[in-house]
Structures are given as structure tokens and as C-alpha cells.
């Protein structure tokens, strides 16, 4: 179900609302009113199905109800409500409900226009993106959202006069964008320096700020203004009411929202101690939805008051061999047989089953299975095969010594593995790897360090042997951040020092064309090379797990239901979400 469609249940008033949306899409010009009504009913049926799914098939479907509140549990408080500054998930979730962006995505990652009337028109050379804004979009003070607001927001992240604004997006925009020009009140043009395929996905989903209240701030004031903690004029489906720091953010219905007000009166983003507490508070009904720990899933599934939704996500855990020439282990890790053999020795399915409680899938390539560029047949694959690992190391000349540890040319196959202390799954993963590798005569010792130290090791110091950490890909399949040799420079995330001119060319070519089939082909090649080289193997891709009380309805199903790319900053399903008891 598209978020433009209203579900059935409230009769003609909703049909009128529905027609308004359809006319916005210029459909009414093409189809008769009767056809529109049929489509409306069809949308309603689809919605009913979505509800039935959401309720795990239990009980009768409830018609959408207005009013009431929904409380989502989070384990981290937000840091800011400024879309220009944010980098963390919690803040982005709230920002996404307060400020609409030019585009957003469907649950499976396809771009959709939001404030934009349609997807950007790109010139034939791929360098010019022209975006036309919708006519009916407005700020909460009633004034229209214009191209000036869009330009102003991007200037905060891009224009040299705003360098003092602590936006983590500046370098990306400076690298790719030549200029941003307002053509008229509703039209804005992004002129790029070079063709960059991920541009729309990566750069056109930031919340837009109102120029008239932000425009007078000095660059440093943008970092510290009260509007970062208490926004005044916003554009999203909810309005800001209150932030009780360390407790909750309270948002209220935006009656003037251009897509129509949500059913919910209030949305509360509530901080709880940890994921175990999320499970507890779901059981007591103190929160309505949240992401519990995978270990609790079986327990929560048996609870008659709760419904569970799981889906694949692009969040992954990987480990990397330090191949930087300056590292003493680079010699053994430059041996492909060693890298491959170590991966064969790990029982990743066992890890997914026991450490992730089956809420993870073994990675068969670096691309998440949800991506359009995923190659399910990428080769070679690494099923758990200790015998093969042993024979590979034997034939590569790594012979077992008297202590049972393999060595070659006086160098022992012995190293330490680092990850951040406090993340139980990562800590246990290292222990599992230590055990697995011991079986094949490899001595690996886990070492836990603080998170900032881990980041410093990956991006700067690079004196580790093996690190293990988690990342998340966005909806575009570009993976240059990890595999491109330019990111081996200090500060880059290719901290394991993987350098391949063939890989660089594939990555560069793949972002230099807007032809999706060509890109797909290149990313298939990329996955094959990475599977063969195994410079930094991905262990598993996680699953998104959401649990909700049964009174929460209308969350799942359709393009904008809760899913892979709609679980955090893009909660498009808030439009169709309601609480069955209306409280």
C-alpha cells in the first residue's frame, strides 16, 4: 500500500482525501472517478490484508481508528533534532518524523518522491538533477516549503561560509556537487562535478529545514541553537512537543501535514535501559513497540499480547585481516590460502544459530541479500569445512609445530583479534573464532578494547592483527568505503589495507554510470572478486526484529510498511499506523 492511499473504514470523507492524493499524482486527469473509487477500494483491501498480517492472523481485523498514542522503546536517547548535524540512528528516527526530505525509500530500498513531486529528472550526461517540489507542502506555521528552504538546508552542509557547522556530510557533497541553484520557487537544480550513481539515495534524503527561522543563525549557532533540542517550525507527520532528556521525546499529530494527519494523536520515543528491558516493557505494555534482543524472541513470540515482525536488513558483522605492509602480520595475511582457510574453518551457520538465535543469515557475498545488486550465485562459497581448511594450509606450507601451532619460515600462525568490549555478540564471536581456528592449528587470542580505541585502530593506528566490527550498508550498492584503495588513507574505513586496481576500477565504473543493469553486472564482478580474495570476510547479515503490542495496527505490509529500509529514519508507515483501542 502506498502512503498516498488512505485505508477504508471512514467512508466518503476518506475517499475525498484519497481523491486529493490521486489528483496530486495527476492520475485523475487520466482516469474516471469510478476507476479511482475502484482503486480506493482495492487499496482498502490491501490495507486489510496488511492489518491481518500485522496481527499474525489473530482475531478480526480492526478498522483504522483515530486518536491515541504509540510509545516506541529505544535504548539510546536522541542527541539532536537537527537533520544537518545528525549521525546517529536514534536522532534520525525522530528527525524523520519531524522534517520531510526530498525523497525517501520503500521498504525494499526503491526511491520514492516525498517533498519532491516526482523522482529527480537527470540530464542525459547524468550531471544535472532537477527537482520539482510538490504544490501542497507546507511548514507547521502554514507557509509553503520552497526551493529556497531546500537550497538553504544544503548550503548548511555544503556552502563554504558554513564550514563551522559540524555536519558530517560536507566532504561528500563537496566531492560530488558543483552547485545548487534555485530555478523558481518550486524548482531546484543540483549540478554535479561527475556522474555519481548513489547521489539520490545518499544525498537527497536529509530533512529540509525552514530558512526563515534558521537563516539568521551564524554557522556556530547552528551547532548549538535551542532549535536542535526544541524544534519550532517543522514539516513532518508529527510536531515536536517535548524532550525530557534521558526519558522520552513526545511528538504530536501535525494536522496540517500535506499527506493528511496521522491517525495517532501522539508518538512517544521512550528511552529504556537495554534490549532486555525493551522485552520487559513490551510485556507490561509500558511501551508499544521496540527492538528486543534476539535471545528473547522465543519468549516474546509465545506472549499472546505481542506480535513480532522480522525482515532481512543490510546490517552486518565482519572481521578483517590486517594487510597493511607496516603490520607484522601482513606477511601471513597476504597469503590468500591463509585468508580463505581461516574462513572455511568458521562455522558461521552455528554462530548465526547460537549467537544470533537464528536471527541472522550467513553472508554469501559482501552484498546484502535484500539489495538489487546481490548475486546469490557468487563464487567461491565458504561452507564450514575444517578438513579443507587444514589441507589448504598444509599445501600452502604452513606446517604444525610441536606446540600444534602452524608456522612457515619461522613465522607462527598466531595473532590477536580485537573488538569493542560491551557488545556481547561480538565478544562471543571472537571466542567462537578462537575455538574454530584452534582446531586447525591457528592461535588467535581475543582482546577487548573500548569503542573509540577500536575506531582509532581501524581508521588510523592500524597496529592490530584482526578486527571484528559491524557496519550497515545503505540502499545503494556502492561499497567503496570498505574496498576502494583510496580509503586505505588515514581516516578511511579500508583499515585492513586491501588494495586492488581491478577492484578500484570496478567500484569507480559502477558509480560513474546511471545504467542500473551495467552497475549490477559490475557489482556481480565485485562480489566474485571479494569472495575469492576474502580480504575482510562478512560473517553474517542480521535480521531486523520488531515486537509490538497487539493494539498497534497498520504498521506492516505494502511498499511503506515496516521493513528493511523503513525501520529507522524513514517511518513512512506512521501514516497508516493506528492503535486499535484508540487510547
Amino acid at each position: 500500500m502506498s502512503r498516498d492511499q488512505a485505508p477504508g473504514g471512514e467512508g466518503y470523507k476518506q475517499f475525498e482525501e484519497f481523491l486529493k492524493h490521486w489528483s496530486r499524482r495527476d492520475f485523475v486527469k487520466r482516469i474516471s472517478i469510478g476507476a479511482a473509487y475502484t482503486a480506493f477500494l482495492a487499496g482498502g483491501v490491501e490495507f486489510m490484508e496488511a492489518c491481518a498480517n500485522a496481527g499474525s492472523g489473530n482475531g478480526p481485523t480492526v478498522a483504522a481508528k483515530k486518536g491515541g498514542h504509540l510509545t516506541e522503546g529505544t535504548i539510546s536517547d536522541i542527541k539532536t533534532m537537527n537533520p544537518v548535524l545528525t549521525s546517529d540512528t536514534a536522532s534520525s528516527e525522530v528527525i524523520g518524523l519531524l522534517y520531510d526530505s526530498l525523497l525517501n525509500t520503500t521498504a525494499n530500498g526503491d526511491l520514492r518522491p516525498l517533498l519532491a513531486k516526482e523522482l529527480p529528472k537527470t540530464s542525459s550526461d547524468g550531471l544535472t538533477y532537477t527537482i520539482t517540489l510538490r504544490d501542497n507542502i507546507k511548514w507547521t506555521d502554514g507557509s509553503p516549503i520552497t526551493a529556497d528552504d531546500v537550497k538553504f538546508t544544503y548550503d548548511l552542509m555544503f556552502d563554504p561560509q558554513y564550514k563551522a557547522v559540524n555536519s558530517p556530510r560536507r566532504s561528500d557533497l563537496e566531492t560530488y556537487v558543483q552547485s545548487i541553484t534555485v530555478k523558481d520557487a518550486k524548482t531546484i537544480v543540483f549540478q554535479l562535478k561527475k556522474v555519481y550513481a548513489p547521489f539520490a539515495v545518499a544525498q537527497l534524503q536529509y530533512g529540509i529545514l525552514p530558512k526563515k527561522v534558521w537563516g539568521s543563525l551564524s554557522p556556530t549557532d547552528v551547532n548549538t541553537t535551542d532549535m536542535n533540542t526544541a524544534p519550532t517550525v517543522t514539516s513532518g507527520i508529527f510536531k515536536f512537543q517535548k524532550w525530557d532528556k534521558g526519558q522520552q521525546v513526545t511528538l504530536t499529530r501535525n494536522d496540517g501535514y500535506w499527506q493528511g494527519a496521522p491517525y495517532l494523536d501522539t508518538f512517544i520515543y521512550k528511552v529504556v535501559a537495554d534490549q532486555i528491558a525493551i522485552g520487559n516493557q513490551l510485556k507490561t505494555g509500558e511501551i508499544d513497540m521496540g527492538q528486543p534482543d534476539p535471545s528473547q524472541l522465543a519468549d516474546l513470540q509465545g506472549n499472546p499480547d505481542l506480535q513480532i515482525v522480522t525482515f532481512p536488513v543490510a546490517i552486518f558483522t565482519f572481521y578483517a585481516y590486517n594487510q597493511n605492509p607496516s603490520a607484522k602480520v601482513s606477511q601471513m595475511f597476504s597469503d590468500k590460502a591463509v585468508r580463505q582457510a581461516l574462513l572455511y574453518a568458521i562455522d558461521r551457520q552455528g554462530m548465526a544459530d547460537s549467537l544470533y538465535f537464528k536471527q541472522a543469515v550467513v553472508a554469501t557475498s559482501s552484498m546484502p541479500p535484500v539489495s538489487w545488486a546481490y548475486n546469490k550465485d557468487s563464487k567461491p562459497q565458504y561452507p564450514h569445512d575444517p578438513a579443507k581448511a587444514n589441507s589448504m594450509l598444509d599445501s600452502a606450507g604452513w606446517a604444525k609445530g610441536s606446540d600444534g601451532i602452524r608456522a612457515k619460515g619461522g613465522q607462527k600462525l598466531s595473532f590477536t583479534m580485537i573488538t569493542n568490549a560491551g557488545n556481547k555478540v561480538r565478544e562471543n564471536s571472537l571466542v567462537a573464532m578462537q575455538d574454530a581456528w584452534k582446531q586447525i592449528g591457528v592461535d588467535a587470542t581475543p582482546k577487548l578494547i573500548t569503542f573509540p580505541q577500536l575506531v582509532a585502530q581501524i581508521t588510523n593506528d592500524r597496529s592490530y592483527d584482526v578486527f571484528l566490527v559491524g557496519f550497515s550498508w545503505n540502499a545503494d550498492p556502492d561499497q567503496s568505503a570498505l574496498w576502494h584503495s583510496r580509503n586505505t588513507a588515514p581516516g578511511g574505513f579500508n583499515g585492513f589495507g586491501y588494495k586492488s586496481s581491478a577492484m578500484d576500477k570496478i567500484l569507480d565504473d559502477a558509480v560513474a554510470t546511471l545504467d542500473q543493469s551495467k552497475r549490477k553486472q559490475l557489482y556481480f564482478q565485485m562480489q566474485d572478486i571479494l569472495n575469492d580474495e576474502a580480504p575482510a570476510p562478512i560473517l553474517v547479515f542480521n535480521k531486523g526484529i520488531w515486537a509490538m503490542t497487539k493494539r498497534v495496527q497498520g504498521v506492516t505490509g505494502g511498499d511503506f510498511g515496516l521493513g528493511t529500509y523503513t525501520q529507522f529514519q524513514n517511518k513512512a508507515w506512521m501514516k497508516s499506523t493506528f492503535v486499535a483501542d484508540g487510547k
Binding site: P168, R170, T284, E286, N460, G491
Partner: protein, 323 residues
């Protein structure tokens, strides 16, 4: 005389606060990486942005200069701004401090109200079954880790009671998400964390009351009182109890700095929006300015608290003279 003493004490405490800030500053910087505090690890983050933001925040300045900027601000009463969210450290403390005081004060009151009767009964019925039972409770209270007790209480009184259809207590937070600050609602949220925190106080203070009471009961003046034919009740409550509480008052006084920091672990388990949880969260994010500000704030409180206590002694006890 007293005024001169106070001035001297204040001057003498400046190096203490100074030392606390310097050590905290050094420790934070020794353990932190070259990242931006609070920024999440994200493959799309570029090194240039990290360098620029660190420059904007002054984190690439030489350490002595950074410390100088901070301490110069402090001299003007400016605790600085959080590196993670850019808002003033003092505003965070102002938001969180009332919650922490609400929790710890309740726990201390609860501790006093329960521990004194337990201690008195234990002393009067020394060696009885009930005394042994209280002793067992005290040992348990001191030895059970409070986070574990907290989790058990949540499981029983919150999750299980809810599942059994009994009246249940909220498992976390200072108020219901949707209550809007209703006092009854706040009290129900206070019960579990305050009891958990009070349990430790009760364990220690009841033992203290008991031994202090036993000591006083064997004093000459108690025997004299009895010899005068005073009823046992009057002896116990009028003479013995009052005097046995004097050391307890000192002990409770020692908990006063804990008003701010005492319940950090309880605050975390019950997601109580207090200062302790703020300090821990921000330490994990390497929010230097916030941690520095909080440490300094607590150090100042301790210094002021000790000074007040000393002055109170002088005012209350004419035998104590400060020169």
C-alpha cells in the same frame, strides 16, 4: 574567627577541585581515539569531515590549550557545552539532578525508617530467631549485587505480576510515557528503584544501629536509669536510642555526596533519568566536556558539603574551636 577559617578552607579546596579536573581531563584524553565524540561508526563518514569537526570542536588543539580553554570557562561559571549534542553541560545537570535527588533521598529516608527499628529490635532481642533473621537479611543486602536484585525485582513485581493479572509496578523510567507528570504515577515508578537502593542502606545501617544500641545499653547511665526505677520502654527509647543514633547520623551524613552519584547502577537498570546514568552514558561516548563538568560539579559538592559539616560541628559543639 570562623569567617577566617571558612576563607582558609575555601582557598585550600581550590587545588583539590583543580586536581580532580586535571586528572579527569588527562584520563579521558589518554583513553580516547581520534574520533568525534558521539559520532556513530558509518562507512559513509569521510576522514575529512572527522578532521574538520574535531577542529571546530577544538579537539585538535594541544592538550594544555584545550585544558586552559575549559578551566578559563569554568572560572566564569561556564561548564562548557557537550561535545555530543552541543547543549550546555549545566542544562543537562539541571535536568537530571532533581531526578537523582528524588531517587536517593527517597532511598535514604526509606533506609532510615526501616533500619532503625530493625536495629533496635535486633539489639533488644539479641540472639533470638528474629535477630538472626535480620542478620541474614543484612548479609544478603550487602552481598547481593544491586543490579541483580534490581533485575529480579523487575521480573517479579513488574513482568510476572503483570502476567498474573495482579497490580504491578512499572519496570523503568521516572514516569509513564503518557502520564504527563502525575504525582501518583511518579511514586509508583519510584518504588522499585528506591527500594533497591534502600536495601543496601538498610543492610548497613540496621547493623550499625544494632551494635551502637548494644553498646549504649551496657553504659552506666542506662543502668542508673534502670536503678531509678524507670520503665524499660522509657530506658530504651528515651535514653538508649537517642544516644545510639549519634554515630548513625555521621554515617548517613557520609552518604550525602551519594545523593548525586549514589544510585548510578540502579539508575541504569531502571532507566532512571538521573545524573549517574548521564555520566556513564557520556563517558562511553567520550563526551569529555560533559564528564569533566559532571566530575567537577560533584567535586564541588563534596568540598562544599564537608565544609558545611565542619562549620556545623563548630556551631553545635562549643568544645570544637577552629583556629
Amino acid at each position: 574567627m570562623l569567617a577566617r577559617y571558612v576563607v582558609r578552607r575555601v582557598v585550600a579546596s581550590i587545588p583539590v577541585v583543580f586536581g580532580v579536573t586535571l586528572i579527569t581531563f588527562a584520563l579521558l584524553h589518554a583513553t580516547a581515539g581520534a574520533f568525534v565524540p558521539g559520532l556513530e561508526l558509518n562507512p559513509n563518514l569521510r576522514p575529512e569531515d572527522i578532521v574538520r569537526i574535531r577542529n571546530n570542536l577544538g579537539l585538535n588543539d594541544p592538550l594544555p590549550l584545550q585544558y586552559w580553554h575549559w578551566i578559563a570557562g569554568l572560572a566564569h561559571g561556564d561548564f562548557g557545552r557537550s561535545l555530543v549534542d552541543g547543549s550546555p553541560v549545566l542544562s543537562h545537570i539541571g535536568d537530571r539532578l532533581p531526578n537523582t535527588i528524588e531517587l536517593t533521598l527517597t532511598a535514604i529516608l526509606l533506609g532510615i525508617l526501616v533500619s532503625i527499628p530493625l536495629g533496635v529490635v535486633g539489639a533488644l532481642r539479641r540472639g533470638s530467631v528474629i535477630d538472626n533473621f535480620f542478620t541474614f537479611l543484612s548479609v544478603a543486602g550487602v552481598s547481593i549485587p544491586s543490579f541483580w536484585l534490581a533485575l529480579l525485582l523487575i521480573l517479579l513485581f513488574s513482568v510476572s505480576f503483570h502476567a498474573w493479572g495482579l497490580p504491578w509496578l512499572p519496570s523503568g523510567g521516572a514516569q509513564s510515557a503518557f502520564s504527563g507528570g502525575d504525582p501518583i504515577d511518579r511514586i509508583t515508578h519510584l518504588i522499585l528503584p528506591a527500594s533497591c537502593l534502600a536495601f543496601v542502606y538498610i543492610a548497613i545501617w540496621s547493623r550499625f544501629t544494632r551494635s551502637s544500641m548494644l553498646e549504649v545499653l551496657s553504659q552506666d547511665y542506662v543502668r542508673t536509669a534502670r536503678a531509678k526505677g524507670m520503665s524499660e520502654r522509657r530506658v530504651t527509647y528515651l535514653h538508649a536510642l537517642r544516644n545510639s543514633l549519634v554515630p548513625l547520623v555521621t554515617l548517613i551524613g557520609l552518604e550525602l555526596p551519594g545523593l548525586v552519584s549514589g544510585g548510578a547502577i540502579i539508575e541504569i537498570v531502571f532507566s532512571w533519568p538521573g545524573v549517574g546514568r548521564l555520566a556513564l552514558e557520556r563517558a562511553l561516548q567520550y563526551d569529555y566536556t560533559m564528564v569533566l563538568g559532571l566530575t567537577t560539579f560533584v567535586a564541588l559538592l563534596v568540598v562544599v558539603g564537608n565544609l558545611l559539616a565542619d562549620v556545623m560541628y563548630a556551631l553545635l559543639d562549643p568544645r570544637i574551636r577552629y583556629a
